[in-house]
Symmetry: C2
Subunit: 432 residues, 2 copies
């Protein structure tokens, strides 16, 4: 690039909002991404960084020294600073913290105490608190002394002298009530505060269910620590929903679409390796029936159909159950009903397509024995698949294995093995 | 149930929040669900109904008459009423509308003009508007005349006499600025309004990118129609994320986990039928090589491995690309880079596992020819799978077919056909 074009590109880029710059960076291959990042103005670097997904963030952070990290995090929200620090080596974290003002350090440290995937890790410390005995008039005057109110503030938080959470004062109520009334009289004491140790997906479902915009976070003693805002919760919802999709393909939900080759290849290699083992197990099953196949070669032609139909039927059930579990809908009392529905659906669809396949095979091979065998094997495998698809995720979860990650492979192993066993086993019986 | 227990259950149920009742209903099989629904108090029926997913909502709505629908929608937000009406037959819609007050009818009709999956269909008409020439003092007094402010109101909307959108007045600014200042002086004129025809997934990405809590909706002439709030956007985000997951298994993203048998079976049957066709195509390919398999039965034992490894490699690429497309990250300029990365990743992982499999087969069958053949076929199929996984969604989208729905089947067809062709074709060449 000559320097004229260069300047023009820089001006165009920095004319965009930080949000758009972040989207552009995330939509670029690594080299372009690095080149664009170098063109971003110093003053907005921090804002852009905040908008990037963790995976992309860390790609840039790795190349920064402590001083740069200190500069870039200046003026950021405490939860965003904590997010960024969590991706750095311990030593750099300490250096960055010691470069902060006492107050900021204390705030960031309080967020860092909690794991990234808990309410404490999600929270921000920019709360505006009021005492219950104040009149609204005093509260309004107190607010007017602020230059601005933190974003997504829909309520002020009411606390006592010990900073213990008492309730919420919604701005809507503050604005529509007579100024002579006290906070205590109109505050919402039914409002729930979130314990700092609550898992982030639980936080997300609380927000979703109650249509919250922000919510207070408290420690075990009920003391106010900070608040969580909907924009951070939306990220959690997106990640949770991504998790099932990406895990079923053995990928990380944080995966950057334009991750460099050497970053994306190893994880995929492991998954292919796991699959190779299950595929070899399926082949070992076929191997048992070598003689039968040698006698009736049509079996080799047809056997993938039985395995494949079981795989598809099972993955439908698996997907419904994994999503239901992610939404917290599946428990002991409804599992039985779910199993019986899946069994019935498997029976109906198994019989339907077994019949169709029986007719196709009769016409294709003009052999009624093999038509009956494949129909019977399909019913057996589709039924097994339905039950396995419903039970595997529950079993995996009970032994603390992620159903979204392991469910797909476990299911394919079952449907391949049962499919080949049923089809070739029946054939051996009839043709022996 | 005797009447004592019955009363107790009813009391417990109605003691829960509408949100929790809705979650309980969604986590129940059909019969329990209907029984519980009958126990819900009349006064909160509407609130509970609103919290249910469309699929479950419509199960209850089907059994209501016009009068019941009128009663239940009383006091609901206009967008929620529109949501419910859209699931009813045209005649019932007309009857419900004519039972409403003039003002309510006009509002609901304005939402109904727009498709459910657009900004217009998502919007609510409960806006609070102010004129630019007013002082903040007047605005504060105007607000105090309201009993309450609509939920998720973080800004008042500034309009002119013709109701055309001019800008936003954030409550935070209203509360921190001197009351003598006019709206015009502090209103945010950079704030974007959303066109009513914008697709809901675009609306969601605007909200996500800008961390909005609510945003105004305008018609083509810039006239204010209503506003969209984050709680409705969260539902869109959840549905969009669900879409890829559910579609890949041939399911509807609205699917109720506890859908009755007769509702869930037909859709799954269609998907199994589509898969049966692709499986038969794969079998037809194997059929071409009948003679070779008859000669070397080990081919039948090993061929599923080649197809399966291609399937897994392809689905990894497919998942990354489908998610990238859903996030709006993939376009003409970066597709080439993506293809080349997938090609390289496929080459590396293909060679790695082909080598491993070659060794396994040499030991297992003590036949070096077949070891070389399976290794070569695996490399070919994994490479093809990587390219197909990246290109198929783009091709499908360009012919306006949903990549999430059709991508998986199309990919399996490719990896099965190419896998069997490569493996059995090479074997025919070497053993003929």
């Amino acid at each position: 690039l000559d320097s004229g074009t260069f300047k023009q590109v820089r001006r165009m880029l920095n004319g965009l909002t930080p949000v758009k710059i972040a989207h552009l960076l995330e939509s670029s291959p690594p080299q372009t991404r690095r080149a664009l990042w170098r063109l971003v103005d110093r003053e907005i670097e921090g804002e852009v960084l905040q908008e990037l997904s963790d995976d992309v963030q860390s790609q840039f952070l790795r190349h920064m020294d402590t001083q740069e990290v200190v500069e870039i995090t200046e003026g950021m929200d405490t939860d965003d600073i904590a997010d960024i620090l969590q991706q750095l080596p311990d030593q750099v974290i300490q250096e960055v913290l010691s470069a902060m003002s006492d107050q900021d350090r204390r705030r960031v440290e309080s967020v860092l105490t909690y794991a990234e995937d808990t309410a404490g890790g999600l929270m921000n410390t920019d709360t505006i608190t009021v005492r219950p005995r104040l009149t609204l008039d005093v509260v309004l005057r107190y607010l007017r002394r602020h230059d601005e109110i933190p974003e997504s503030t829909d309520s002020l938080i009411v606390v006592n002298r010990q900073d213990e959470f008492l309730g919420l004062l919604p701005l809507g109520k503050l604005l529509t009530t007579d100024p002579g009334v006290t906070v205590r009289e109109i505050m919402d004491t039914e409002a729930e505060a979130i314990p700092a140790t609550l898992a982030d997906s639980e936080v997300a479902s609380l927000f979703e269910r109650h249509d919250w915009v922000s919510a207070p976070v408290v420690d075990a003693g009920g003391k106010l620590l900070g608040r969580i805002t909907i924009d951070d919760v939306v990220d959690v919802i997106r990640e949770d929903a991504d998790h099932s999709l990406m895990s079923l393909a053995g990928l990380d939900e944080e995966e950057d679409t334009f991750a460099p080759l050497m970053r994306t290849t190893p994880r995929r290699a492991i998954w292919l390796g796991v699959n190779l083992i299950t595929a070899i197990i399926a082949s070992a099953v076929i191997n048992i029936f070598e003689e039968t196949i040698d006698k009736v070669v049509a079996l080799a032609i047809l056997m993938p159909i039985v395995a494949s139909m079981g795989g598809v039927a099972g993955s439908q059930t698996l997907t419904v159950v994994i999503r239901g579990m992610a939404l917290g809908q599946i428990g002991r009392n409804n599992l039985r009903w779910l199993l019986s529905r899946e069994f019935s659906a498997g029976m109906i669809n198994g019989l339907l397509w077994a019949l169709v396949m029986g007719v196709v095979v009769s016409v294709w091979f003009e052999d009624y024995t093999i038509a009956v065998i494949i129909a019977a094997a399909m019913v057996i495998n589709i039924l097994t698949a339905a039950l396995a698809g419903a039970l595997l995720p529950v079993l995996l979860k009970s032994v603390k294995v992620d159903p979204a990650l392991a469910g797909g492979v476990a299911l394919t192993t079952v449907t391949d093995v049962v499919g080949f066993l049923a089809f070739l086993g029946l054939a051996t019986y009839f043709y022996a």
